[in-house]
C-alpha cells in the first residue's frame, strides 16, 4: 500500500513537472515565468490544506488528548510552515520579473506570510515549552488559533489594499486557458498527494520518536 502511495505521488509529480515544463505554452503577458505558477499555486493549496489538518487534529487533541492527534498536529504545522514558505519564495521569484518587485503589500502575500509566521510560532512554542506535554497542548492551541485568524487577516488586507489578481478558478467560472489549466490541476493534485505522503510519514516518525 505504501509503495503504491509513493509510486502514485512520484508519478503525479513527474507528469506535473513534464506538463509544466513542456506541455504548457508560455503566457501571453508573463512569458516563460508562468511556469513558476505550477509550483507556486500548488504549494499555496498544500499550505492551506496542511493548516486545515493541523487545526482539525489540534482541536481533536485538545478535546480527546489522544497522542496520535498530537503527531498529526505536529506534522500538519511543520508542513504548513514548509509549504507557506515555499509559496512565499516562489511568489517572490515570480513577482520580480512580472510585477517588477520581490514583494508587494497584497492580501495573499501578507496572509501567507502571517500563516508562515503563526505556524513557525506554533513550532517554536512546542519546542521551547518547559514541559513536553504542555508544549503539545500549546502547539495544538496555536494551530487552531492560526487557522481561524488567517481568513480574517486575508479579508482585512483585501479591503485595505490588494494587487494580486483574483482567483482564476472560482464560483464565477474558469478564467484560465485549458492549456494552462490542465497542468495546473495535475500539479495541484501532485502536491496534495505529496502533502498526504509527507503527513503520513512525518506522523509515523513523530510516533516513533515519542515511542508510541
Amino acid at each position: 500500500m505504501r509503495a503504491f502511495f509513493v509510486g502514485t505521488t512520484v508519478a503525479l509529480l513527474g507528469v506535473g513537472l513534464a506538463l509544466a515544463l513542456w506541455a504548457s505554452p508560455p503566457d501571453a503577458y508573463q512569458g516563460e515565468y508562468v511556469r513558476i505558477m505550477y509550483v507556486h499555486v500548488p504549494s499555496a493549496v498544500a499550505a492551506y490544506a496542511a493548516a486545515a489538518v493541523a487545526c482539525a487534529s489540534g482541536a481533536l487533541y485538545l478535546w480527546r488528548r489522544q497522542p496520535r492527534f498530537d503527531s498529526v498536529t505536529l506534522a500538519g504545522a511543520e508542513l504548513a510552515a514548509l509549504f507557506s514558505g515555499l509559496t512565499l519564495l516562489t511568489g517572490m521569484l515570480w513577482g520580480k520579473p512580472v510585477w517588477g518587485v520581490w514583494w508587494a503589500w497584497d492580501a495573499r502575500l501578507v496572509s501567507t506570510a502571517v500563516l508562515f509566521l503563526l505556524y513557525l510560532g506554533a513550532l517554536l512554542v512546542r519546542g521551547l515549552a518547559e514541559d513536553p506535554d504542555r508544549g503539545r497542548r500549546l502547539c495544538a492551541a496555536v494551530a487552531v488559533l492560526a487557522f481561524l485568524d488567517v481568513p480574517l487577516v486575508h479579508y482585512s488586507v483585501v479591503w485595505f489594499r490588494t494587487l494580486h489578481q483574483g482567483p482564476s478558478v472560482g464560483p464565477e467560472g474558469v478564467k484560465i486557458a485549458p492549456a494552462l489549466l490542465v497542468p495546473l490541476v495535475v500539479n495541484v493534485a501532485a502536491y496534495l498527494a505529496l502533502l498526504s505522503l509527507l503527513l503520513v510519514e512525518r506522523t509515523r516518525l513523530a510516533q516513533a520518536e515519542a515511542g508510541r
Binding site: 509566521l117 500549546l138 487577516v153 479579508y155
Partner: protein, 217 residues
Amino acid sequence: MTAWRRVQAVARKDLLVEWRGRDALLPAGSFGLAVLLVLGLVTGGGAEAAAAVLWVSVLLAAVLVVGRSTEREGEEGTLETLLLYPGSREDLFWGKWGALAALVAVLAAGLWCGQVLLFNASPRGWAGLGLVVVLAAAGLGAVGTLLAALLHHVRAGRLLLPLLFLPTTLPVLLAGIRLTEAASRGAPPGPWLGVLVVFDGLFLLVGPVLYEVVVEG
C-alpha cells in the same frame, strides 16, 4: 461565590496590582509615546499617516502590557495560585480579559490624545473613535489574555509574544487605522466595524475554551 463575582474579583485584583505597581501602563504608555514621536518624525507628521502611526504605537505598546502581565504571573506565581481556587477557569479568562482590555483602552485613549497634540490632528469624531478604542481593546485583550497564559511556561516566552501577537492582531490594526481615518473625516465606517466585531466575537468565543486547556498544569 458566583461566576460573576469571581470574574469581578480577578479583574479587580489585576487592576489593583497595576494601580499599586504602575509597572505596565506607565512604561508601555511612555514607549507608545516614543513610537509616536519616532514614527511621526520619519513620516513627516502628516495627517495622512496620523491614524497608522497611532495604531502601530497602540499595538506595540499593547505587546508590552501583555508581556508585563506574563512576566508578573511568572515572578509571583499568581496564576498557579489562582488555578487552585474553586470555580471555572473560564471565569479567570473573563476576569483577566476585563482587566487587560481596560488597560489597553486607557493606553489607546492616552496615545490618541498624544497623536492629536503631536500631529495637530482634529479631535473630530471622538465619540466614534471611542467605540473603535473599546472594540479594539476588547479584541487585543482577548488575544493578549490567551497568549499571556499560553507563553507562561515557555522559555523565551517574551520573545515569542510579539511573533504571535502582531500577526494575529493584524485585522485590529488595519480596522483601527481605517475607522480612525473615517471618524476624523466624518465618513461612514464601511466594512471595518464589521471586521472588528467579527474579530472580537471570534476570539471572545474561542479564547475562553483555549484558555482552559493552556492553563492546565
